[in-house]
């Protein structure tokens, strides 16, 4: 994956959602997911409303539905897990099509599926409307420790470079007739991983030299400062606020 792959997650565009400052979007998505998670699972209709809200955002961002749906595939492992729940959970059981299922398990499966899917969809919308470096600036603005942002930024910058090195090593292995098959190939693969680590670490040292040569003394100079107006904040928070209303209705109704 790395930066190149991550770049493909982003859909270039000039929609109002693309134009929002990154930290407002990050905060809004986080608040939205938090609201969704705290909704009672019995209020099934609220989740439909949440999905509708996200659909509105996707429409405003001009992100096609197919794109979001394809990216939702990431949660397949959890769908599998959720499907198991009705069989293993305890409590009162009902018969559905001749299968004895736990009511609680069904609720649990629904809970994980609904909330997980909404969370993934919200993240997908965020990643597809915000550029990588904007995301980093947003994280910095949200008071994530600067060192952590720096590490993340280096990881993204060099993710591609290192993935490339890994690919070249794989090609070199395969050109010499190596085929990864079964446990016996682990030694060779681990040697590659070791070599990759040494290369990564040494590159880290060289990058550090290059930084020091240009006056780095431990903190990153502030080059871009992102700011958000009150209007932008309120625009971004339209989503979680609407969700909060739905959530409160879900609790009271």
């Amino acid at each position: 994956m790395g930066a190149g792959h991550a770049h493909r997650l982003y859909r270039h565009g000039h929609s109002p959602v693309h134009g929002l400052p990154p930290h407002t979007k990050l905060a809004a998505v986080f608040a939205f997911v938090l609201v969704v998670v705290s909704t009672p699972r019995e209020a099934m209709w609220t989740f439909g409303l949440y999905a509708l809200l996200l659909a509105c955002v996707a429409y405003a961002a001009r992100v096609p539905a197919g794109f979001v749906l394809k990216r939702l595939l990431i949660e397949v492992p959890f769908v599998a897990f959720a499907v198991l729940m009705p069989f293993v959970a305890q409590g009162e059981r009902v018969d559905v099509l001749g299968l004895s299922l736990s009511v609680n398990g069904l609720w649990g499966a629904w809970n994980v599926l609904a909330k997980g899917t909404l969370g993934v969809a919200a993240s997908v919308l965020l990643a597809s409307t915000t550029e990588l470096r904007e995301l980093l600036l947003g994280l910095q603005r949200l008071r994530l420790p600067p060192l952590l942002v720096q590490i993340a930024s280096f990881m993204i910058r060099y993710g591609d470079v290192i993935a490339d090195e890994m690919r070249r090593m794989k090609i070199a292995r395969e050109s010499r007739g190596f085929e990864a098959r079964g446990v016996r190939s682990w030694g060779v693969l681990a040697k590659s991983a070791g070599a990759l680590f040494i290369r990564s670490y040494e590159r880290g040292e060289r990058v550090h030299l290059a930084m020091v040569s240009r006056g780095y003394t431990g903190s990153m100079p502030v080059i871009d400062e992102v700011t958000a107006s009150r209007a932008q904040w309120s625009y971004a928070f339209a989503l979680p606020c609407a969700a909060l209303v739905v959530c409160l209705l879900g609790w009271t109704l």
């Binding site: 930066a3 910058r157 060099y158 990058v207 240009r214 080059i223």
Partner: protein, 259 residues
């Protein structure tokens, strides 16, 4: 060619290295008393076989390595703890692998890194970045991530990152490595157009001859020869002695240089 004659007179030298010796913590000694000076505006090639201590020498120029014997002086300032920030601004090192040098998410931020570390802000910083990118012809790529550029373009941006600091002396480590002939020529044109002192560390002897009127040969940790590049390259015995080889069919005597 417009470069000044390397002989006299030199005002305050951009770089002066005297009696520099250095051993790594593991005991391996790389430099054994290096002496040379580079005048303002000169373009000098530093030639030498692998393991001659070229990289070690380069890392001394901006004080990344210190602690051995001897002194390095940049435009009259001794390299040492006291003036480190000033020295790092004055000595611009372009490292061999542009991927090591371009560590920021976008070209613009990368070029801005040096001047911003020195405290520049706002429109002044923007102007500095724009000028530096214009000097290497990369202004159209400012908002691109570095890893989406070609190798030659990355090398040019790497030069810009250093130019943005308005250095006294530009130190290039193997600037022509991995470049295709066209990128190589473009880089040569850029380097020729700059009015800064250049110290170019290289194996690429024709490139050194093309760009640098003067050359130094570093061998076994000392300066073994110092003179006009053309003359040094034509001295077969000297070249053989220091494991320097010209490419097949290349005759430095047949090349007419302006210098």
């Amino acid at each position: 060619m417009t470069s000044p004659s390397p002989v006299p007179p030199r005002p305050a030298p951009s770089l002066e290295v005297a009696g520099l010796a250095f051993a790594y913590p593991d005991g391996h000694q790389a430099l054994f008393g290096v002496d040379f000076s580079v005048g303002r505006g000169e373009r000098v090639a530093l030639l030498g076989p692998n393991g001659a201590g070229k990289t070690t020498l380069v890392l001394h120029l901006n004080g990344i390595l210190t602690g051995g014997a001897g002194t390095v002086t940049v435009a009259g300032l001794p390299v040492g703890k006291k003036h480190m920030a000033e020295i790092r601004r004055k000595v611009g090192i372009v490292f061999q692998d542009p991927d090591d040098q371009l560590f920021m998410p976008s070209v613009r931020e990368d070029v801005a890194f040096g001047p911003a570390s020195a405290g520049l802000k706002g429109p002044e910083l923007e102007a500095r970045v724009r000028t530096a990118l214009e000097r290497v012809g990369m202004e159209a790529f400012a908002d691109r991530p570095p890893h989406h550029l070609s190798f030659g373009q990355r090398r040019r941006v790497a030069v810009a990152t250093v130019l943005a600091m308005e250095p006294e002396i530009l130190v290039l480590d193997e600037p022509s490595s991995n470049l295709d002939p066209a990128s190589r020529r473009e880089l040569a044109d850029i380097l020729r157009s700059l009015d800064v002192t250049v110290l170019m560390v290289t194996h690429d002897l024709p490139y050194a001859l093309e760009l640098c009127p003067r050359a130094l040969i570093l061998s076994e940790g000392v300066i073994a020869a110092d003179g006009r590049t053309g003359e040094l390259l034509s001295d077969d015995e000297l070249m053989r002695e220091h494991r320097l080889e010209l490419p097949f069919g290349f005759d430095p005597r047949s090349v007419t240089m302006g210098a």
